[in-house]
Amino acid sequence: MKEATREALQGLAGIDVAIILMYMAGVLVLGTFFRKYVKSAGDFFQASRALPFWAIGMSIVVSDIGAMDFVAVAGSAYTDGIAVANFDWIGSMPAMVFAAFIFIPYYWRSGVYTIPEFLGRRYNVGVQVIHATIWGIFLLTMLSLMLWVTGDQLMNTILGWNPMVVVWAMVFITGVYTFSGGLSSVVMVDVVQLIIMFVGGIALLVLSMWEVGGLADLRHKVVEDTQPRMVIAFNTNRDISGDAVQSAIADAGFNVVGVDPVVSVKQEEGVRRFFVRLESLEIPETADADIVAVRSKAKDLVTTGLASLCGEGEEASVEQLRTYESHFTILLPHDTDKPYPWTGIVFGLGIVLAIAYMSGNQAVVQRTLGARSEWDAKGGMLFGGFLKSFIPLMVAVPGLCAVVLLPNLAEGDRAVPAMIGLLLPPGLKGLMFVALLAALMSSVDSTLNSSSTIWTTDIYGRFYQLVTGRTLDERRALIVGRIFTVVFIILAGLLARRVGTTKTIYVFIQTALSMFQGPTLAILLLGIIWPRATRWGGLAGLVLGVVFTTVLSNIKGLFPSDDPFLFVAWWSFVFSCIVTVIVSLLTKPEPKEKIRGLVWGQVMKDVEIQSVLHERTK
């Protein structure tokens, strides 16, 4: 098994490498083609407001789905089951509908470049700068992370290429075309990349399903036929035999089916790992039906049993305990030991994180701000939601198939690369790699363009105004935007290794996002639907909300999950709403003239009012 998997992970044929190189060259040419259309900041940041709905929708999806989603979502499906698909189903479509009909019309009609700019108009400069700084830093971190995932987890794993060489190649290609053509280049390259991504993703889905025998067989094989597994780790350089591990665990009272050495591409020095297949998780002399308690007891029993194999200064631990009975259950109980309980999914993800992400993420919203009409802006969001519904089929389902085909992978994140190596023939393998690269590059270019927009408009623009007393003109904004583009992509390349090796990918992003998604959504929503919300209310809601998030994230055992980002997001949203309402009611209402055109029921397509608002913002 080990040899088979290693073989599957190795190398691409000449035709695959040729396809990858042709793709990179093609993207570079297509992206730089749009340089001739960029004459002003409006062209660079908003594509001259000429984008049709289909391009917006495709670009939103491909910007949102990066290579890390292919890798990490499939990995999560491999270890935790289909529940991870909630992020693209309940965590996308309803939020995109709310974004299309509540938030987008407001941004679009007020003619802003960024969400912080909108918040600045609705509340004050403080809210604008804080929000912009948080997003600016977050987007930069995301850039580094995306680059590292491609370099390390894809290209290094499968081709053995030096990850930093790959990172700098990505930096060069995406940097050049984003610098040249701005949002137009980004969106049009995204359209091509989405098509490639879907072709590659569907190929992987079809071949995976073919191999396992269809959906019904997959369900049966995963849920009923796959035995529970443990990953046992010893911190030793000594050779420990599988037989010794097997007998130690059997002595603890478990029915052990077999012990296999862990298949891992990167073996750590000083650590020996084993996969232990169990007949069941039944524990001797216990009638406890609570799966969480059973798991905990099983870990204790096994660890105690393994102590006899450890020498001085060595120890053994149960790193993972995998069960598969809920791998086809999309809504898991509140107290599940997996990371996606239904309460967190519906309230934290569906109501807060998803809406905040789709309505408050500059990388998503910026496409709609470049729409040729309001209908295209809304339609693009809905079309994007529709396309996004297919992502779990292309990503999570192959992860589930890997449970059947490659059950002994130590890290779930290796599921997709291993499946590509195992299933796809030469040519198609190259195409799938191009799909992964497309997913990565489209996320990088979008994030890069959005970062430079935020830093140019909301941070540098404000600073420039403070120092000179003048607003940033179009020509200077274009130059500054391009400089930020270059600086950020180089910085992201330099930070890639450090950021990428910090924490588990998907949880890291979600945790970071949840820190300020709840508070941001609270002030955005109240700012739009409640005219009484004041500048001080918004500022207090944002700042205290982030503080509250920090408090919740640091208290152990407050929520059932180990990484309770879904619950933290929900409660920080509720807390920020309360703070914003209380502080607003205690402070002086905003003048009616200031909020005209920016709150529910007063939105209008009125150039005169918007120019008055713009002047007042100055």
Partner: protein, 96 residues
């Protein structure tokens, strides 16, 4: 992951100061939710999709939803798009 240094000390301080009062608020809620009958979770999730569709169809004015639409044909009606996009999700949440 064990956090050390200043971040670790801050985390410990937050845990000590805010942990006990917040535990008293959240633990009863966790106990209540852990006992929830699971089919209710499915009802809530499906209700979220259906409720959103109903809101777009009945709660929003057609003129607001379709402002600047290229035509009045049904395929340019964003309410129709909403239903087409969301119905498959209802089926998925009933299947899984």
């Amino acid at each position: 992951m064990e956090v050390t240094g200043l971040a670790g000390r801050m985390s410990e301080a937050i845990n000590n100061i805010f942990g006990p009062p917040l535990m008293r608020v959240f633990q009863p809620m966790n106990a209540f939710l852990a006992g929830t009958y699971m089919p209710w979770a499915r009802v809530v999730a499906v209700g979220f999709f259906v409720g959103t569709m109903v809101w777009v169809f009945a709660g929003l004015k057609r003129a607001y939803v379709n402002l600047e639409a290229p035509s009045k044909h049904i395929w340019h009606d964003l309410r129709f798009w909403t239903v087409v996009s969301m119905l498959p999700h209802v089926i998925v949440y009933l299947y899984f």
